[in-house]
């Protein structure tokens, strides 16, 4: 579709959206949506001439006339259990093409002081408490995709914990895509607000019915108040034809601790932005990540850790595997503000390149304006260690099997740090299935 026809299409979409919104939308929200729609209309989709999009061309997304995904009632409990995690005891919310399906969800037994609710529901019934969080961490200015989400989001999840409330079980947000039509999009928004001293684990999980090829554009806003502890799993296991852009914004107050597990296995074109702001002393972030780019996949992860206060800590460990014709991109930025003394930041990006047609681009960045800090980063791109291979071979293990073991072990080092065995085991199995025993390893030799 030509650029003109496309902008006409989006103008119509925005108009259509405004007509379809509930009349009761509060002013503040209507204002934010409106501003976002205008910002998107002005900025359009990013292009590779922009430094932040240097390695990722979103043309495949930008040239399609997307519209809202159709309502799909076909997804069954059997699909949910097939896509979910065997043996995981969790509060569960299931979304199909971005819309909450209460019939497939299970939120029984939530403790007092814990709110886990569909965002569409919260907006129509009780929007006031959303005002201080919805759209306050994720600025429209951040990227066109963030603005797009704000303009078009109509559902998602709200997880809110009052002071000192500890969730006994994780919250599993299972987002299922079914749209075989490549021009369907959805814009889920996830809000997580952990009050002082609260503790929770939230699993944001994207999985598709085979053959789905929609575009999922998510925004997650996570605020951890003083002393709160949050584990955030971001698991992307879309079907191979799907497009995914995910933007995560984390804001941490005094002595809070957030652990992020970000695993990317599926999708055709995937981009993640994880933005962390450590605003008060004692805040600590752990960013663990794994991405696999095989077939014709393009998987891009950008992380930004902003140490804006003294005595803050960050630990970042990302691993990537490029195989087939895949392209993996990692860019990690650590910014230490003037005055953020005693910052302790470590960042590491390790990558395996297994095929002559694959590509890995990595760019670990440090930007430091304080002197009394400990900051280090490292990046490697390479192949399997020949010594380890030799060791295994000398014990009678076949070459191919030895290679598979080593690749798996490389990736598993990230997964090992997950604290939910059912999730870890399931992801390990899905990972192993995506490491094709044969051709990728042979050509990687």
């Amino acid at each position: 579709m030509s650029a003109n026809a496309l902008s006409q299409h989006y103008a119509e979409q925005v108009q259509h959206l405004q007509q379809s919104l509930p009349g009761s939308l509060p002013d503040w929200l209507a204002g934010r949506r409106d501003g976002a729609a205008r910002r998107f209309a002005d900025a359009g989709f990013p292009d590779p001439r922009m430094e932040e999009w240097k390695y990722t061309n979103v043309r495949p997304i930008a040239t399609k006339p997307f519209g809202e995904a159709p309502v799909d009632t076909g997804v069954s409990a059997a699909d949910v259990s097939a896509l979910g995690f065997q043996g995981l005891d969790a509060y569960r919310m299931v979304f199909v093409n971005g819309r909450l399906r209460t019939d497939l969800s299970d939120l029984n037994g939530l403790p007092d002081g814990a709110t886990v609710q569909g965002l569409g529901d919260a907006i129509s019934h009780d929007p006031a408490p959303l005002e201080p969080i919805l759209g306050t961490l994720a600025h429209d200015r951040f990227s066109s995709f963030t603005a797009l989400n704000m303009a078009f989001m109509n559902d998602g999840a709200l997880v809110r914990l009052a002071r000192n409330v500890r969730l006994d079980r994780p919250v599993h947000l299972l987002m299922i895509g079914t749209a075989g039509n490549a021009a369907s999009w959805s814009h889920p928004r996830i809000l997580i607000h952990a009050g002082e001293g609260a503790e929770a684990t939230v699993i944001e999980h994207y999985a598709d019915i085979a053959g789905a090829q929609g575009f999922t554009n998510t925004v997650t806003e996570l605020r951890a108040e003083a002393g709160a502890q949050v584990r955030h799993y971001l698991l992307q296991d879309h079907a191979d034809g799907a497009y995914h852009v995910g933007s995560v914004f984390i804001q941490q107050r005094r002595d809070s601790r957030v652990i992020s597990h970000n695993v990317n296995l599926g999708g055709r074109l995937v981009r993640h932005d994880l933005n962390v702001d450590l605003t008060e002393p004692g805040a600590e972030i752990v960013l663990d990540g794994l991405f696999l780019a095989g077939g014709r996949q393009h998987v891009d992860t950008h992380t930004r850790v902003h140490h804006s206060s003294p005595n803050t800590t960050s630990r970042e460990r990302y691993r990537g595997i490029g195989q087939g014709h895949g392209r993996g991109v990692f860019k990690g930025r650590v910014l230490v503000e003037r005055g953020a003394q005693k910052t302790d930041a470590q960042q590491h990006s390790a990558n395996l390149l297994l095929s002559p047609n694959a590509e890995i681009d990595t760019k670990p960045e440090l930007e430091i304006y304080a002197d009394d800090v400990k900051c280090a980063h490292g990046a490697t791109v390479g192949q399997l260690d020949t010594t380890s291979l030799y060791y295994l071979r000398s014990r009678g293990i076949g070459e191919q099997e030895a290679r598979e073991m080593l690749v798996f072990a490389f990736a598993d080092e990230v997964l090992e740090r997950m604290d939910l065995p059912p999730v870890r085991e399931s992801i390990e199995a899905r990972l192993a299935a995506r490491l094709p025993g044969g051709q990728a390893f042979e050509t990687g030799a």
């Binding site: 430094e51 003037r338 005055g339 003394q341 990558n351 390149l353 297994l354 095929s355 002559p356 694959a358 590509e359 890995i360 681009d361 990595t362 760019k363 670990p364 960045e365 440090l366 930007e367 430091i368 304006y369 304080a370 002197d371 009394d372 800090v373 400990k374 900051c375 280090a376 980063h377 490292g378 990046a379 490697t380 791109v381 390479g382 192949q383 050509t443 990687g444």
Partner: protein, 482 residues
């Protein structure tokens, strides 16, 4: 290293040692840039047609280009029409045949700078080409080099005496339209050095060029071209200074290195342009394009730089590793104090098989300076067995400066091995305590630690210059501690 106690206050106020200017008769073109200016420069140098055409083409391309803005540096917009593009000592009009004919004032200037043009040159065993503003003043040791077949002369002389070599190699590594500043240089460059090492020759001495900006409101645009034929070897050093002025001056140089089969070029820079005062007033904008091409098998290009001066430094000495088994190296110490801004690093482009590159970068920031390492390691699809090791360390002295690292790593070959490591730290109180406890003053303790931090890079410099570089570092950082 002196162990005398220093008065910190006095040190802070200490002035740039090379800030004098020399009052000699100069011929300066009026400020402004257009095709006539370029024709005038070309005519003054009596250049052949191909040079003039090359310049004009570069100029026309430059007009279509935009000044780059991606670097981590800030400066007011440069008015390219307010710069004079040619300044030459008058006496050049009747070109000096030997050192005796060179204006004694000029010789005095170089004496002050510590450049041994005369007898001391022989002792130092270094052949020097001195460039004063826009033109090359003199080249020492010409005969001795001639015996070995080495051509070492000013660029202008090369255009006259060896036009075939110039035409064959000029712009083949850094094309005229490569980037904004390189295009500007191609259009207006006035002189520079030319080195040609014939097949199998090991250059008998270190070659050196000394650049000095003297005139006010002029830009210096020199161009250096070094060609190392099969199996040859050369070590080349450049140094630079400028007088103290409260207006910014532009220096946009281009350096091209070509190493053929089994050849080796070692290129060292000690850059000490005037950095401006402590409020950031004045100083040189050092926007330089340096690139070497390892064209032949087993060839090697090694860049070593000590960047101490300039208000703004924007330079990325790079290696394109085309030949199989070729090697690229980059060793850098970049020191920023007061309001200095540095955005420097390297590019290693691996194209040939089994190509290796090493990057060692040491950045030191003090005062309110910002010091960024920006580098690219690119392994193309055919570069089987490529190997890179990068180490970038930053040292922060004070809480108002900044240290940044922007490494780009792009790998398309599964047999490549690329490693990048970076650290940022300050000098530990325990280290200072340890040295002070042994009777060493704080200032000297810091100097020692900084020198230790830079040791790997200084070790790559020719010996005489390593000593100079250490002293320069101490001067640059004076007042940064205490």
């Amino acid at each position: 290293m002196s162990t005398q106690p220093h008065d910190v206050e006095q040190l802070i106020k200490r002035e740039y040692k090379y800030g004098f200017s020399t009052d000699i008769d100069q011929e300066i073109l009026p400020p402004g840039l257009n095709e006539d200016v370029i024709r005038a420069i070309s005519a003054k140098k009596g250049e052949p047609e191909f040079m003039l055409n090359w310049r004009l083409e570069a100029y026309r391309h430059w007009l279509t280009m935009k000044e780059p803005s991606w670097a981590h540096v800030h400066y007011p917009k440069i008015d390219y029409q307010a710069v004079s593009y040619y300044a030459a000592p008058k006496s050049k009009e009747d070109a000096p045949k030997s050192l005796d004919e060179v204006d004694p004032k000029l010789l005095e200037t170089y004496e002050k700078l510590g450049i041994p043009l005369h007898e001391r040159a022989r002792l130092a065993g270094v052949a020097v080409d001195a460039v004063f503003d826009s033109v090359s003043v003199t080249t020492t040791f010409k005969e001795k080099l001639g015996e070995a077949g080495v051509i070492f002369c000013s660029f202008s002389e090369a255009v006259h005496n060896h036009p075939e070599l110039v035409q064959k190699y000029l712009g083949t590594v850094v094309p005229a339209g490569d980037n904004y500043f390189a295009a500007l240089n191609a259009a207006v460059f006035s002189d520079g050095s030319f080195v040609y090492i014939p097949k199998g020759v090991r250059c008998p001495m270190e070659l050196s060029t000394y650049f000095r900006i003297n005139a006010m409101d002029t830009g210096q645009f020199e161009r250096t071209l070094i060609i190392a034929e099969e199996g040859s070897h050369v070590s080349y050093l450049e140094g630079c200074t400028a007088p103290q002025r409260d207006r910014n001056q532009l220096h946009a140089a281009v350096v091209e290195l070509i190493a053929l089969d089994d050849a080796e070029i070692k290129y060292s820079t000690v850059q000490n342009w005037y950095p401006g005062d402590e409020e950031g007033k004045g100083g040189i904008y050092n926007f330089v394009t340096k690139r070497g091409e390892c064209r032949g098998r087993n060839s090697k290009i090694s860049w070593t730089q000590v960047e101490a001066g300039s208000a703004i430094t924007w330079k990325y000495p790079s290696c394109i590793l085309l030949g199989d088994n070729s090697v690229g190296e980059f060793y850098s110490v970049a020191v920023g104090n007061n309001m200095q801004q540095i955005d420097s690093g390297t590019k290693m482009i691996h194209v040939g098989k089994n190509t290796h590159s090493t990057i060692i970068s040491k950045g030191i920031s003090a005062g309110r300076a910002n010091n960024a390492y920006r580098g690219l390691v690119k392994v193309t699809g055919g570069a089987d067995g490529a190997r890179n090791y990068t180490q970038c360390d930053s040292l922060l002295l004070g809480d108002r400066c900044g240290a940044h690292t922007y490494p780009y790593i792009e790998v398309k070959n599964p047999s490549a091995q690329v490693e990048h490591e970076a650290t940022t730290s300050k000098i530990g109180d325990d280290q200072i305590f340890y040295l002070k406890q042994r009777g060493i003053s704080e200032e000297d303790a810091v100097n020692m630690i900084v020198n230790g931090f830079c040791k790997e890079v200084f070790g790559e410099l020719p010996m005489e210059f390593a000593v100079e570089a250490q002293a320069l570092l101490a001067v640059s950082l004076e007042g940064a501690v205490g």
